[in-house]
């Protein structure tokens, strides 16, 4: 089992979700994160002081997939999240030693995509 993590623009999240769904990857977990990168947020103004927040709000996805779906998933995310402008984000993959589905107790690739 592999774990794909992807940091994408909040505005691209819906597109990514749909791209994954097209590949029948409907299960994943996501949460809001903040990122420092090439892209800088719009500057803000408070009582006459202009300042930068620095970070940008992003969505991080975490998807557990078997080898069979790995490349498909990466491709789907990559093309759906791509704009070509600074700030598109990253995809990274790591290996999982063990995966357990709490409901079924099944392990390994049976644990997910079921």
């Amino acid at each position: 089992m592999k774990k794909i993590e992807a940091i994408v623009r909040a505005s691209k999240f819906e597109d990514v979700k749909e791209a994954l769904a097209e590949k029948e990857i409907n299960f994943f977990t996501f949460y809001e994160v903040k990122g420092y990168g090439h892209q800088i947020g719009k500057s803000r103004s408070y009582r006459g002081t202009i300042y930068d927040v620095g970070y940008i709000a992003r969505i991080k996805l975490e998807i557990l997939v078997g080898m069979d779906f790995l490349d498909v998933a990466i491709k789907a995310i990559e093309s759906a999240a791509h704009t070509g402008e600074k700030g598109d984000g990253l995809i990274y993959v790591s290996d999982l030693e063990k995966t357990i589905n709490i409901r079924t107790g099944s392990i390994g690739s049976d644990a997910v995509n079921s």
Partner: protein, 417 residues
């Protein structure tokens, strides 16, 4: 014949009574309106502080109102209205007497309000001056010392300077004019705020080597609710200061007050846009308040055009003043010094520049004198009290507490969950 005379006299008494009832009713409604200004302040201040200090600022606000009313009852009222003319300080005794007979009713103030109405209307005003301070020292002042400061400020300092003018003291005799308290309420609060802000020092991380770090308020809707409620209450603050329901005066005051508030909003809007290139909600909100504070000294005696100019200038002052205090490294999370002190001074001076307070009162000199002596006394008093507290119990929470927030630190609580 007899008959018609009796009826005529009866009718006259009934008519005078009706007038009295209506006047008194307006003063009571004004009391209610001024009361809700305390919610206005609480909302404004809590909106402008960080999430971690919200419980603390709310707690301070309800305590200040309660302390204000009670101490004004014990001491303040009779210190402000001792019944001695032309003096510097005088005291009429503790507490209130039981209201009895016409002497405390229709005769008390020529059928304008009863004795108890007088007290409660004035009492609602009193707490205001401390609420102004609480905003400026927010997010780092220790709770108990602040409350102790309030007790002294509201029961001694505010009534003394109040006596000078409204209680027919020496400043009134000199011809100083301040209709509803640009100086006596707002500047007084503002001077206390300034003394407190200086002595307690800026919030951690506000002024760094890299420059000013904005510490943004946590809820603009709350702040906006506060400003609307303050404007709402100001109809009673200024309108009630007519001290009767006189249709001409009260309607004039309503118009000048509203026009100045609206103009203050526009003034701050324009200057913020020109100087800071931004449509800044906080500035526009403070602009409204600036306009209101500005017209407070003269709302009963200027033309509508005058009120518009007074408000517009007050609003325009706000963004500049806020930047100025920031440059001075005097940290005021809600802008209380700009709104109440600076615009309060402007409003008091405006009395001499606009309107027709020509009968001796209202000349620039005497207005400046009033601003000066009230400022000197109040600032010294507030500075001294804060200073004594500082060297004894301390007035600032420790660094760690400031970082985790006063809500956890002082109240073991959070505002939202």
């Amino acid at each position: 014949m007899e008959d018609s005379l009796t009826i005529a006299k009866e009718a006259l008494a009934a008519a005078e009574n009706a007038n009295f009832v209506a006047n008194n009713l307006w003063m009571l409604m004004s009391t209610v309106l001024v009361f809700i200004m305390h919610l206005g302040f609480a909302a404004l201040e809590s909106g402008f502080v960080q999430r971690k200090n919200v419980v603390n600022i709310l707690f301070k606000n309800i305590m200040v109102v309660s302390i204000g009313i009670l101490t004004y009852y014990f001491i303040g009222f009779n210190l402000m209205y001792p019944g001695v003319e032309g003096g510097v300080i005088a005291f009429g005794g503790f507490g209130l007497r039981t209201m009895e007979g016409a002497g405390d009713l229709i005769e008390y103030a020529n059928g304008q309000y009863s004795y108890y109405t007088d007290f409660i209307f004035q009492g609602m005003f009193a707490a205001t001056c401390c609420t102004i301070v609480s905003g400026a020292v927010a997010e780092r002042v220790k709770l108990l010392p602040f409350l102790i400061f309030c007790v002294f400020f509201v029961s001694i300092s505010y009534p003394i300077t109040g006596y000078w003018k409204w209680g027919s003291g020496w400043l009134d005799a000199k011809g100083f004019y301040d209709f509803a308290g640009s100086t006596l309420v707002h500047s007084v609060g503002g001077w206390g705020a300034l003394a407190g802000a200086i002595l307690v020092g800026p919030r951690l991380g506000k002024y760094t080597k890299k420059g000013i770090v904005p510490i943004t308020g946590h809820s603009m809707p709350l702040a906006t609710v506060g400003v609307f409620l303050l404007w709402f209450g100001w109809f009673g603050f200024n309108g009630g200061s007519v001290l009767s329901a006189d249709p001409k005066m009260v309607s004039l005051v309503f118009v000048t007050t509203s026009i100045a508030a609206a103009a203050g909003c526009i003034g701050a809007f324009i200057v913020s846009k020109l100087v800071y290139k931004s449509y800044d909600l906080g500035m526009a909100l403070n602009g409204i308040l600036g306009g209101l504070v500005g017209v407070t000294a003269s709302a009963d005696g200027v033309s509508v055009v005058d009120a518009l100019l007074i408000g517009l200038i007050a609003g325009a002052i706000i963004p500049l003043s806020i930047s100025f205090f920031d440059k001075m490294k005097i940290d005021d999370p809600v802008g209380a010094t700009s709104v109440h002190l600076v615009c309060g001074i402007w409003g008091t001076i405006a009395v001499a520049l606009f309107g027709d307070y020509d009968d001796g009162i209202g000349t620039l000199g005497i207005q400046l004198l009033g601003v000066g002596v009230v400022g000197l006394f109040t600032f010294s008093f507030a500075f001294l009290v804060f200073f004594l507290l500082k060297i004894t119990v301390g007035i600032r929470v420790d660094k760690e507490e400031e970082m985790i927030g006063l809500d956890i630190g002082e109240h073991q609580a959070v505002a939202y969950s």
